[in-house]
């Protein structure tokens, strides 16, 4: 049944096009009883959700099937939520305005922890019971995937099943199983049991007897869930007709994923481990993809997406070939995520040819000592050299990203941030053109959040007092040098620190915080730390136990039953090396036998 949303409601909310659908390349299919109906749910607002490449990939795979359909459901912004609640409008899909509760599967993507209350809110708006055990046969299956699913435990009591790894690898298997279940009239329990036998799928309810009534683990878990991934990206499906929004979205351009994973192995970076091994698409495949996407969307900009663009093995060839297309079509090409070390003049000129965007370096730490600890293999010399080239080439804007609170950090390391920024500022006098245009230099810091499946997964996050002390210290130093400083809210980092390594007990905190009105926690204007503190207290949780405690390496971690290919021994070795300040070579220089070769693909076999 299609839900009617009156013009009056739409006229009174910000950006009605967030809710109206009908975009070019959106797919509307008939809702037959036998069709498997999948709702791709992104727990954030339209502009963010539509910028997510993974969603577009799943959308096209599912809609390419005759026996299934995929529609989109995103978090309504707070004004729309209010209108929906006042007018008894349930959560609905953009394509056919179908009630979310009428889909067979609600599939959520977990991109960041602070979107979890939005998941709870969406289920509630759909009239779907929040806890898996309360959802009877008539309610949809709730599943989740994405990077945060690598620690699924905080949402284990909400979500029926998780897909650990890359969704496009197993989405068809999931749909096949649900189709069989529908045809044969099997129960949800039978469906989940069938799903649990699929590689990469975790059904948390099957482990319920390992936990007590508070969500505390009381027994060893003998299940192992191994992540799934696409081994050959050249053969992987990509959306040939991406949806083109009517309103501006965060990434309003043709996005081209050039590779997955990262050869670097920065020790704080979860993506650098969970997406191993690195797998690349070949330039010719990408060029065809670019042509197809430009023709289907009418976009005037191509952007390359990856964790570190300049590490792509054939970047020169690819950019040359893409520029052939873009220059003849008045299209621009942007290359984000360039590393400061191998950034060449030639490459810079290529980007410059069409449009000069700002430059961004992410040294992450202010001193060489600390950069060695985190294995960020960039030297100050590299950065200054690159900055000099950029300034000579006419760049006038530079952003520097750092983290505060990395393991072993001292005030001396914090001072290193201000020193580096100062040197870059001086460099502009020498190589730039300060008379014509002043340098716009911005330093941004975020607080380190220890993440599962990194060598720092056992590390404590610094306390709130330490956070404030270091931020204040840096603020004063940069103020003296008249350098612009942007900082992250320490309260948000603290909450991320608590949730990212949380267990089932943290799930109760999330629901409780939502009950108190928490939602859109990733948005500074809505994040309310007090609601979370109250929720933590009411749940009888010790937040320090999650965030700021050194976890013994003998401890069984909530996510230990998941196998990402990279073995724990490797992570432990990396932790030890971090403390000794020893760096690790990248995957191209030398194989460190992290374990990811077990997938039989990618960079691990490049030289064989």
């Amino acid at each position: 049944m299609s839900i009617k949303i009156s013009d009056e409601i739409l006229m009174n909310v910000e950006k009605p096009a967030r809710y109206t659908g009908g975009e070019v390349n959106s797919v509307i299919k008939e809702h037959n009883p036998e069709t498997v109906k999948f709702a791709f749910c992104f727990p954030d607002v339209y502009e963010v959700a539509m910028s997510h490449l993974g969603g577009q990939i799943l959308y096209s795979i599912i809609n390419n099937r005759d026996d299934a359909l995929c529609e989109r459901i995103f978090s309504p912004w707070t004004d729309m939520e209010k209108a929906m609640r006042e007018n008894d409008i349930p959560l609905f899909s953009l394509e056919t305005k179908t009630n979310a509760a009428d889909f067979d599967i609600l599939g959520f993507t977990l991109q960041y922890e602070m979107s979890y209350t939005n998941i709870i809110n969406m289920l509630n708006l759909a009239g779907v019971p929040l806890m898996g055990q309360d959802r009877g046969e008539d309610f949809p299956l709730v599943c989740a995937g994405g990077p945060c699913a690598f620690n699924p435990e905080p949402l284990a009591e909400v979500v029926d099943f998780f897909l650990i790894g890359e969704g496009e690898e197993k989405i068809n298997t999931i749909l096949d199983i649900v189709k069989t279940v529908k045809e044969e009239g099997l129960s949800k329990a039978e469906c989940l049991l069938m799903l649990s036998k699929t590689e990469g799928i975790y059904v948390p309810s099957l482990l319920d007897d390992c936990f007590d009534s508070t969500g505390l683990r009381i027994k060893d878990i003998d299940t192992v869930v191994k992540k799934v991934l696409i081994t050959n990206l050249d053969e992987a499906p990509y959306p040939k007709k991406p949806i083109v929004p009517f309103i501006n979205i965060v990434h309003d351009r043709t996005m081209m994923e050039i590779f997955r994973g990262c050869i670097r192995g920065c020790r704080f970076c979860q993506a650098g481990f969970i997406y191993r091994p690195v797998r690349e698409k070949s330039p010719d495949v990408l060029v065809n993809e670019a042509k197809t996407k430009l023709e289907a969307t009418g976009y005037d900009e191509i952007s390359l997406a990856s964790l570190s663009t300049s590490d792509y093995y054939a970047l020169g060839e690819l950019t040359d070939k893409l520029l052939d297309i873009t220059e003849s079509h008045s299209t621009s090409l942007s290359l984000p995520s360039l590393r400061a070390d191998n950034f060449s003049m030639e490459l810079m000129e290529k980007v410059q040819k069409v449009r000069k965007s700002g430059l961004t370096f992410a040294p992450e730490a202010g001193s060489q000592r600390l950069r060695d600890v985190i294995n960020k293999n960039i030297t100050e010399e590299d950065m200054l050299k690159t900055a000099a080239i950029a300034f000579k080439g006419g760049w006038t804007s530079l952003k520097l990203y750092f983290m505060l609170g990395l393991p072993t950090e001292t005030m001396e390391d914090v001072k290193g941030i201000a020193d580096l920024a100062w040197k870059i500022k001086q460099l502009y006098r020498e190589h730039g053109n300060p008379q014509r245009k002043a340098l716009t230099l911005t330093v941004s810091t975020a607080f380190f959040v220890p993440k599962p499946f990194t060598p720092f997964q056992w590390e404590p996050q610094i306390t709130v007092d330490q956070m404030l002390e270091r931020q204040r210290y840096l603020y004063d130093l940069l103020k003296k040098s008249k350098i612009k400083y942007n900082w992250h809210d320490y309260k948000l980092s603290r909450m991320e620190g608590i949730i990212s390594r949380g267990d089932r007990r943290i799930g109760r905190v999330i629901v409780k915080a939502w009950e108190k009105g928490a939602r859109f926690d990733g948005w500074a204007e809505y994040f309310d730390y007090n609601k979370w503190i109250q929720a933590i207290e009411e749940c009888g949780i010790d937040a320090d136990e999650y965030a700021s405690r050194t976890r013994p390496t003998s401890e069984i971690l909530p996510w230990d039953f998941i196998d990402i290919g990279v073995n724990k021994k490797f992570l432990l070795d990396e932790k030890q090396k971090a403390y000794s300040g020893i760096t690790t070579k990248n995957c191209r220089e030398d194989c460190m036998a992290c374990g990811a070769a077990c997938f039989g693909a990618g960079v691990c076999f490049e030289n064989n």
Binding site: F246, T297, Y299, D300, S330
Partner: protein, 204 residues
């Protein structure tokens, strides 16, 4: 709207003319801007192509790729330099009006008023203006009110402002919904004509 058409043109394979500046932009001008939430039966735009296309060819190619609810009704070749945005002088709207007072007396009061004050807010600032000179004609038809008013970048009246003025000066209870633009006009020799008729005039 601009972006939607720019992308549609790029998808259609029609070759548009771009500006030659640092940041090339597709040459495209729209008539009077349409308020958010309004429907319209008559929007006009000037497109510049780098090839000589048949007008019907442009129409068909765009209609093949425009999103649902948006279609090109007619096309013609312009020969004069003035752009459509500067050229539009009047517009016809209609909308449903809920009121306690009869529509006939509202129309009568509007048409006989010497002035009609309304508060116009722009960028957070409110100023009181007299909208009466902007109104050419108001008529009642069934449950709808029809208005012909000045439009364009010099003098422009948003019919919502008319409803606010009626609420303030004539009948407190009024609410308008379903705003729809029926037509836009340019002026030639003191007469209002449709922009597409101008093309016929020009080509004579």
């Amino acid at each position: 709207m601009m972006k939607t058409f720019q992308r549609a043109i790029r998808r259609s394979g029609l070759e548009a003319e771009y500006s030659h500046g640092f940041n090339p932009q597709m040459q495209m001008v729209f008539g009077a801007p349409l308020s958010l939430g309004f429907t319209s039966e008559a929007e006009y735009a000037d497109f510049t192509f780098s090839n000589d296309y048949e007008p019907d060819d442009v129409k068909n190619k765009l209609n093949d790729t425009l999103p649902e609810g948006l279609s090109v009704i007619d096309t013609g070749i312009r020969t004069i330099k003035t752009n459509i945005m500067a050229d539009i002088k009047y517009a016809d709207y209609d909308f449903i009006l809920f009121s306690k007072m009869s529509h006939e007396s509202i129309v009568d009061k509007v048409m006989t008023a010497e002035n009609l004050l309304a508060e116009k807010s722009r960028k957070g600032k409110t100023k009181t203006i007299d909208i009466r000179p902007l109104i050419v004609k108001v008529e009642a038809e069934d449950d709808r009110l029809k208005i012909l008013s000045k439009a364009g970048n010099q003098n422009n009246l948003n019919p919502r402002l008319l409803v606010e003025a009626i609420r303030k000066n004539i009948d407190k209870s009024v609410e308008g919904i379903g705003y729809n633009r029926k037509e836009q006009y340019v002026e030639r020799e003191g007469k209002m004509i449709s922009p597409l008729d101008v093309i016929a005039l020009e080509s004579k």
